[in-house]
């Protein structure tokens, strides 16, 4: 029955497409709440998937599902107020698309079958394309085009990867269902060469979606051109889903005893992503692009952490949760900034501390959080990743990791300070409103809360998720 997390938004989405905007908003919020409820039920095992060959509820999937569902609720609340003030022409489209998007993401989180996962991830691309496209400006068009094309190419390659994994099974004359759970049980008998080839294609394919360099090229365009609530969803939820695909594949390789191979690739991609993000962050002109590159960097951090293994995987999982919370809060506040200044350019903003004091507080807090300052959770996760990396003896890579973190921080801090404290004598177009302030605040506070008190269930879920790739707090 957990499949209803996909079906409910799908149906309500269809309905909302044909409803007036006012009703659509209610549908959006109701669906978000329902979805969260269902997710929580699934989380505690009250509801389980009913199509075992295709869907399953492993801990990693549930984790991603919960994060997605949680931030979706906040983003929906924000979106309702955001749309009221921007008078978005195609509001039903937005609501419909965002619900479809939620449906596809839920499907990713629950997918167990290789191809179902693949279909779901491709579906997220297609469902989120309208979201990016919503403003219909030239640049939005371009961003959408790049997004759809590059991701489709990437995902197509991932399909090839799926075939290779099937081949790994077929060439050794095994005959089990091609679900991650059943493959995992026979992992050691799979043909290693095909498995590795499959992993490469899966990493490239899903990595395109996740924004790992050098396949990240669409990401800054898409995330910056989408309306802010959509950007928040893309960054906070979608990237996790793509990551889940890579995570599952890595899991498979680990179970097959090829963990070293996949770890090295993940570490490489992680570091490359962080460095590439650093290149474009220090001299960025648009603040949404800045946040987008920051997402690339953070995905790099997660990939790095997973690749390192041991303690770092726990850090990576925490990083995933907190990055989603904080980054979506940042994108939401960037929506306020966009409304306030009417421009996405950093040069056109400035003096937020005076002009938009509350948004400033949120944005600054979010920046501090994303840079790894307590009381936000990224502090813990980055510390754990560094500790884990040293523990595993990856000295060189962790040196690059730290270097990249410093570089990214230095680049971003300059621009954030420019936005918050720089000179600006212009008037604010749309003043702040609580409807657009409370959701990001809520997201930030939840990150703080999770850093102060992590519920046992979450902790255990993370542990059981990372146990499958040899991670653990004592590893």
């Amino acid at each position: 029955m957990l499949e209803f997390t996909c079906l409910i938004p799908l149906f309500t989405g269809i309905i909302a497409m044909f409803m007036p905007a006012r009703l659509g908003r209610i549908i959006l919020l109701v669906t978000a709440v329902l979805h969260l409820q269902l997710t929580v039920l699934g989380w505690f095992g009250k509801v389980t998937p009913s199509l075992p060959g295709y869907f399953a509820a492993p801990p990693d999937g549930l984790l991603v599902l919960l994060v997605t569902s949680f931030i979706f609720l906040f983003i929906s609340v924000y979106a309702v107020f955001y749309m009221r003030e921007t008078e978005m022409a195609s509001e039903p489209h937005y609501i419909g698309a965002t619900l479809f998007f939620l449906a596809s993401m839920s499907m990713v989180a629950l997918a167990d079958h290789l191809v179902v996962l693949w279909i779901a991830i491709e579906a997220t691309t297609l469902m989120s394309a309208p979201l990016i496209f919503l403003t219909r400006s030239k640049s939005a068009l371009e961003a959408t085009w790049k997004y759809v094309l590059i991701c489709s190419v990437g995902i197509a390659l991932a399909l090839l990867g799926c075939f290779f994994i099937v081949m790994a099974m077929a060439s050794n004359h095994l005959d089990v269902g091609i679900t991650f759970s059943s493959l995992g049980q026979v992992a050691e008998q799979l043909d290693p060469v095909w498995l590795k080839a499959g992993f490469i294609f899966l990493v490239i394919g899903y990595g395109t979606k996740m924004g790992l360099a050098p396949m990240h090229t669409w990401l800054p365009d898409a995330h910056s051109e989408a309306p802010s609530p959509a950007s928040a969803l893309l960054s906070g939820a979608l990237l996790n889903c793509a990551f889940l695909g890579i995570y599952r594949s890595h899991q498979l390789l680990y179970q097959a005893g090829l963990g070293d191979f996949s770890s090295r690739i993940l570490i490489g991609f992680g570091l490359l992503s962080m460095l590439v993000a650093a290149i474009f962050m220090y001299n960025q002109t648009g603040y949404k692009r800045l946040l987008a590159y920051s997402s690339i960097e953070n995905m790099g951090v997660i990939a790095f952490g997973i690749g390192i293994g041991g303690l770092a995987t726990y850090g990576a999982m925490l990083h995933l949760i907190h990055h989603s919370l904080i980054k979506s809060a940042l994108f939401l506040s960037s929506g306020n900034i966009l409304l306030g200044y009417g421009s996405k350019l950093i040069n056109k903003t400035g003096n937020m501390a005076k002009l938009l004091p509350k948004t400033f507080a949120l944005f600054m807090a979010g920046f501090a959080g994303i840079s790894g300052f307590p009381p936000f959770g990224i502090f813990v996760s980055e510390l754990l990743i560094i500790i884990g990396a040293f523990q595993q003896g990856n000295t060189i890579s962790v040196t690059i990791f730290i270097f990249a973190l410093i570089l990214v921080f230095a680049g971003a801090a300059r621009l954030v300070m420019r936005m918050c404290f720089g000179r600006n004598d212009e008037e604010i177009l749309v003043p702040e409103s609580y409807g657009r302030l409370l959701p990001p605040l809520g997201l930030l506070l939840s990150s703080v809360l999770l850093c102060v008190w992590l519920p046992d269930t979450l902790y255990e879920k993370i542990l059981s998720a990372i146990a499958t790739i040899g991670g653990g707090i004592h590893g």
């Binding site: 094309l149 050098p214 220090y282 921080f409 300070m417 404290f421 008190w453």
Partner: protein, 652 residues
């Protein structure tokens, strides 16, 4: 120990109250200052009594996020660091009552108080932390809150840049710390500080050096100091006082703590610390001499004093590795005492500078002058602070240096390299002392004495009474600590009680020396009084004339002809030329009837220049040269994917 936590809660409550009462400006200030001072007072009393009662180290811990623990432990070192940490903030807060007078900025002031409270609390937590997670957590909160304090006056571009630079250094330093901790964890598999000693000897040096960079960037060792002379002038003066007086000492604390925890046998650690201290001390004071901005000068002087403290620590460490108990004991004790003294007189000086800035609207020495007559209290207390910071008796600065000298002289009888180090330490202390004298005679002589160089300076009046009162209290403290040093020296001794190697060192002989020292100072003061009396007698009933200064033949000397700070320092700076590059801008003279020409000099920080030229510029150029990656061409984006696949398939 619970009392200490109570004091944190009170301090934080004060900070939150500031936010809540932000709309009622004066009430907010009063309440916040009162509550926070009360909290600091509780902490001060408690830590003093714990330190003096020789209570055994207490420990307390909470579970956090399932497998971490937040462990706090107070041993004598922690308690010693807690004393200035709780003693200085109330004074700074009291000062801020009248310093932060702008009603327009009331929200910002409230936020400032809020972060002030967090800063104080987090610093105390840093000191009390007993495992690396706790330490890192408190450390990062400290960095973050102090960043917000620095950017208080964000409208000024220089302040934003300063804040930025500080932010970078704080974060980069923290990264180094994390790396050091991670390395430790990889050897011990425990977050607990107590496990550090079990690290293999080979790894200890590396770990220490990494941590040294991390802590050093906070303390402001050369060449990681460049944020300091920018951030301190940017912050409001009472914040500068806290940052310079207390916060940068956290870096020292870290260095000392990790040294003790590692308990390494290698002598290199001590040598590195000592040599860094010497370089930091000498160059810090030379730069201080070269600067014309009072607060910048004071910031560089903080660098210098960090150098002196490090010399003390270094001597102690060399003493430990040489098995020279006296040397180790006095080195550590001297470092502790100097650190304590510095937190007092540097805060005093920053507050004085703040008063000057507040009243005369400029920090530039070359635009000040004659303030002693216009701001008598600020002037006199600043003079006291200057004497103290130059390390001259009868003020407290001398006492700390005396201990360090004492330790260093005990190292003279060592052999070979550590002998040479001891010599160098003594000589550099002497040179630092001489240069500090030059530096602070410059500030006092040019900013407070003579004639005002600008209209603003001439119009300056005495600062508000509260600010004056705080400065008087601190100046008096400097004098008392200088004249009756024994209790404070005992305090420093108590502070290093828990240092294993020096424990049990017999201090009676030295305390006798201290009493005699105190006598000597009293004799000096008595003679001073006597000669002053004699002078009074000699002048009695005589005609005291007054006129203008003799201009050596100039009949109408103007105030612009006074010696300036730049010229005062020029010769000494010139002597240190390779390390202190002087920038000269001269428009030159052309044509037969030349127009207006300009001549400008300034001193750039050699570390800053090198960072810019050797590190930042090439790095940015390199990054820029890679920007083509995101060229917008979708065909090539797809090519990237293909290339990535091909490269990966090669690994197959």
């Amino acid at each position: 120990m619970d009392t200490l936590f109570v004091s944190f809660v009170v301090i934080l409550a004060g900070g939150v109250m500031a936010l809540l009462l932000a709309r009622r400006f004066n009430l907010m200030k009063l309440v916040t200052v009162a509550v926070m001072s009360c909290g600091c007072g509780i902490g001060l009393v408690k830590s003093l009594s714990l330190l003096l009662s020789q209570a055994p180290t207490a420990e307390k811990s909470w579970a956090w996020l399932h497998f971490f623990e937040l462990t706090f432990k107070v041993d004598s070192i922690a308690l010693f660091f807690l004393i200035p940490l709780f003693a200085v903030p109330p004074l700074a807060l009291f000062y801020s009552l009248q310093y932060m007078a702008d009603q327009q900025k009331r929200v910002r002031v409230a936020v400032n108080y809020f972060f002030f409270a967090i800063l104080v609390a987090s610093m105390a937590l840093v000191v009390m932390a007993a495992n690396m997670i706790t330490f890192a957590l408190a450390w990062e909160i400290m960095s973050l809150s102090s960043f917000f304090l620095v950017v208080f006056d964000y409208q000024v571009k220089a302040n934003r840049q300063a804040g930025y630079l500080y932010f970078i250094f704080a974060q980069a330093g923290a990264m180094f710390l994390f790396a050091a901790f991670a390395l430790l964890y990889s050897h011990t598999a425990s977050f607990d500080f107590a496990a550090f000693a079990s690290v293999p000897e080979k790894a200890k040096l590396l770990i220490f050096l990494i941590a040294f960079i991390g802590f050093g960037s906070k303390a402001g060792i050369f060449p990681l100091h460049i944020w300091l002379p920018k951030a301190h002038p940017a912050a409001p003066s009472h914040i500068s006082a806290i940052m310079s007086g207390v916060m940068i000492k956290m870096g020292i604390y870290g260095i000392f703590r990790i040294y003790l925890l590692l308990d390494a046998a290698t002598p290199i650690i001590g040598q590195v610390v000592l040599v860094t201290g010497m370089i930091t001390g000498v160059l810090g004071v030379v730069y201080a001499l070269a600067k014309q901005d009072i607060k910048q000068l004071l910031a560089y002087s903080s660098v210098e004093n960090i150098g002196i403290i490090l010399i003390g620590l270094g001597i102690g460490m060399v003493g430990v590795s040489e098995q020279n108990q006296a040397m180790a004991f006095f080195g550590f004790a001297g470092a502790m005492l100097h650190l304590f003294n510095h937190s007092i007189f540097k805060s005093l000086l920053f507050m004085g500078a703040g008063a000057v800035l507040h009243q005369a609207k400029t920090k530039n020495i070359d635009q000040l002058g004659g303030l002693m007559k216009r701001m008598p209290i600020t002037g006199r207390t600043f003079l006291a602070g200057s004497v103290a910071i130059s390390g001259l008796p009868p003020f407290c600065g001398f006492i700390g240096e005396f201990l360090i000298y004492y330790g260093a002289f005990h190292g003279i009888n060592n052999q070979r390299f550590s002998f040479i180090l001891a010599i160098l330490a003594i000589v550099s202390l002497a040179v630092i002392g001489g240069l500090a004298t030059a530096c602070f005679t410059k500030v006092v002589g040019l900013a407070f004495l003579g004639e005002p160089r600008t209209e603003q300076a001439a119009r300056a009046t005495e600062a508000a009474w509260g600010m004056g009162l705080v400065m008087i209290v601190m100046a008096a403290a400097c004098l008392v600590m200088g004249v009756v040093p024994e209790p404070f020296i005992r305090l420093a001794f108590a502070g290093i009680r828990d240092v294993g190697f020096t424990a049990g060192y017999d201090t009676q002989a030295f305390l006798a020396v201290v009493r005699q020292l105190s006598q000597a100072i009293l004799i000096f003061l008595a003679l001073l009084a006597l000669v002053s009396l004699l002078r009074k007698v000699l002048y009695r009933g005589k005609e005291i004339g007054s006129g203008s200064t003799w201009g050596c033949g100039f009949t109408q000397p103007t105030v612009r002809m006074q010696y300036t700070g730049t010229s005062y320092a020029a010769e000494i700076i010139d002597f240190y030329r390779p390390f202190v590059p002087v920038r000269r801008l001269y428009s030159g003279i052309s044509r037969i009837f030349p127009g207006k020409t300009t001549w400008e000099t300034g001193v750039d920080d050699v570390a800053e220049i090198n960072y810019m030229q050797r590190l930042i510029k090439p790095l940015l150029q390199f990054l820029n040269s890679l920007r083509w990656i995101q060229h917008g061409n979708i065909q090539l984006y797809i090519a990237y994917i293909i290339v990535a696949i091909i490269v990966l398939l090669l690994f197959l």
